[in-house]
Structures are given as structure tokens and as C-alpha cells.
């Protein structure tokens, strides 16, 4: 297994936290790409093969929901697993995301929660 991951968040510190967690989780990471908003994320997705994207909701330029709309509408990106990582507390909005096959990690997260969710989404057994 070789894993290419895209981390999308307008906070560079938050991106660093997520990437550090992924690296410490024992996942076979090959490439880790970053984007500060949805539009940048689409550009990364066009240029690189990505297996998993971690996506914030509240971002400038293009927010996470708009990004997910675009990804889901593009058949070439059908294989990208999506996890929203957000402060979002509205069950209405979280339910709508989950109905579209998107997993959810609530901020503030612990590294252990991120690891567990990523392993579950990727179908990797916890060693």
C-alpha cells in the first residue's frame, strides 16, 4: 500500500498538525500535498493522484462544501476518500456530508481520533 494524501485547511498550523498525525500513525505515506482553500485543492487534485483528502469546511475562496461538490461531480476523482476535519457542530450539516459518503472528524481532535478515523476509512486493520 502506498498512500497519497491531500490536506486542505486555511491554517498552516492545522495542516502541520494533521500531517504530523498521519506520519505518526504508521501509514505508508508516499506523498503529502497541501492546499489552503478549495480552489488550490482542486488544482492539486488535477496534478496528482490522491487517495485520501482531509478537508476543512470554513476556508476563503472556496469552502470545503463547495470543494466536495466539485470532487463528487468529477468522475475522475471518484476514488478519492474524503474526510472533513472541521469545528462544525451542526448535525444538519454533518448529516448531509455523511449522506454523501464523507467521514467527519471534529475539531478539536486528538491525534488518536484522527488515526482511528483514517484507518477506518482506508479499511486498514489496527495493528
Amino acid at each position: 500500500m502506498a498512500l497519497n494524501v491531500l490536506v486542505v485547511d486555511d491554517s498552516a498550523v492545522m495542516r502541520s498538525m494533521l500531517i504530523r498525525t498521519l506520519r505518526l500513525s504508521g501509514l505508508p505515506l508516499t506523498n503529502v500535498y497541501q492546499a489552503g482553500d478549495g480552489a488550490e485543492a482542486l488544482s492539486r487534485l488535477a496534478d496528482h493522484d490522491v487517495d485520501l483528502a482531509l478537508i476543512d469546511i470554513n476556508m476563503p475562496v472556496m469552502n470545503g462544501e463547495q470543494l466536495i461538490d466539485q470532487v463528487r461531480a468529477d468522475g475522475r476523482l471518484a476514488g478519492v476518500a474524503l474526510i472533513v476535519v472541521s469545528t462544525e457542530g451542526s448535525e444538519t450539516r454533518i448529516g448531509a456530508l455523511k449522506a454523501r459518503g464523507v467521514s467527519f472528524i471534529h475539531k478539536p481532535f486528538t491525534p488518536e481520533q484522527v488515526r482511528a478515523t483514517v484507518l477506518r476509512v482506508l479499511g486498514v486493520a489496527d495493528a
Partner: protein
């Protein structure tokens, strides 16, 4: 201050400080107004606006030299977070407090849109820009101090 707003603000703030930055935060005495702190002691002030069922914002001020520790703890560094990383970390902390207090006061069915974090020169400037303070809580953290306000405006 309405207890119904202060209690959820305390909960959301403590959860954020603990899980985001491993800070042990204790509710502190209301012995000095956040705008009465020596400006040289203030690490930074940031706000995050929200709008939905209610509109307003969360203001977060750190003082006493704890902002470098906030950023370093989030990043997993012993020290050495850059000034930009420190401001980024402060904004993210305010964003997380904001996102976590809203369902506590408006229920989990309500949908809100959050703005991006805005830096301010002072607590007063932030509050003046956002509107009247509905709740203010303060915390003692590792020899420093955090002030958090919930600002609410009439819904447009």
C-alpha cells in the same frame, strides 16, 4: 452576565485549550477587565465572526507569554514557533472555540457560517468591531491568562 451563555463558553474554551494545545485551563477570578491588561503583556487578540440563527463572534485574547506555548504545543515543538505560526495558532484556537460554543447555545440543528480569523490590536478594538459582549470568561493558563468573549448582534 447570563449564566446560560457563560457556562457553554467555559466548556467550549476548556475543551479547545485541552485538546488543541494540552493547556490546563482554570476559570480565573474576574479581577481585571481584559482591556485593562498592560498592552505589553498581551500576546494577541483575534476574533471569529459567525452568522446563522444568531450572529456575532468570539473574541480571544491571550496574555502573559502563553501564545508561543500555544503554537509550539499544537505543532509538537519544544519551542520556536514563528510569529506567523503563533498568529495562525491563535486564530485557529478562536475558530475552534467558536465552532464548539455555537451548538451548545443554539442546538445541533442550527447551521452557522463562520468567518476567517481577524487580528486586532486590542481587546477593545475587537469588541467594538463585533458588537456587544454577551458573555466574557477568563482562564489562568500556565502563568498566563486567556480571555474569551461571546459577542452577539441582532439577527439581520
Amino acid at each position: 452576565m447570563p449564566e446560560t451563555l457563560a457556562a457553554p463558553l467555559v466548556e467550549a474554551s476548556i475543551q479547545t485549550f485541552e485538546q488543541l494545545a494540552y493547556f490546563f485551563a482554570e476559570s480565573g477570578p474576574d479581577d481585571a477587565a481584559p482591556d485593562a491588561i498592560d498592552p505589553l503583556q498581551v500576546d494577541g487578540v483575534v476574533s471569529v465572526a459567525f452568522c446563522g440563527l444568531l450572529c456575532g463572534g468570539v473574541v480571544l485574547q491571550l496574555a502573559g507569554g502563553i501564545l508561543p506555548a500555544l503554537a509550539a504545543n499544537m505543532l509538537g515543538l519544544d519551542d520556536g514557533a514563528s510569529a506567523g505560526e503563533q498568529q495562525d495558532a491563535l486564530g485557529e484556537a478562536a475558530n475552534v472555540i467558536c465552532g464548539n460554543v455555537l451548538p451548545r447555545i443554539a442546538g445541533t440543528a442550527a447551521v452557522f457560517t463562520l468567518g476567517v480569523p481577524q487580528r486586532f490590536e486590542s481587546w477593545t478594538a475587537a469588541v467594538d468591531a463585533l458588537g456587544p459582549v454577551a458573555a466574557h470568561v477568563r482562564f489562568d493558563i500556565e502563568g498566563g491568562r486567556a480571555d474569551v468573549a461571546l459577542v452577539m448582534r441582532p439577527t439581520p
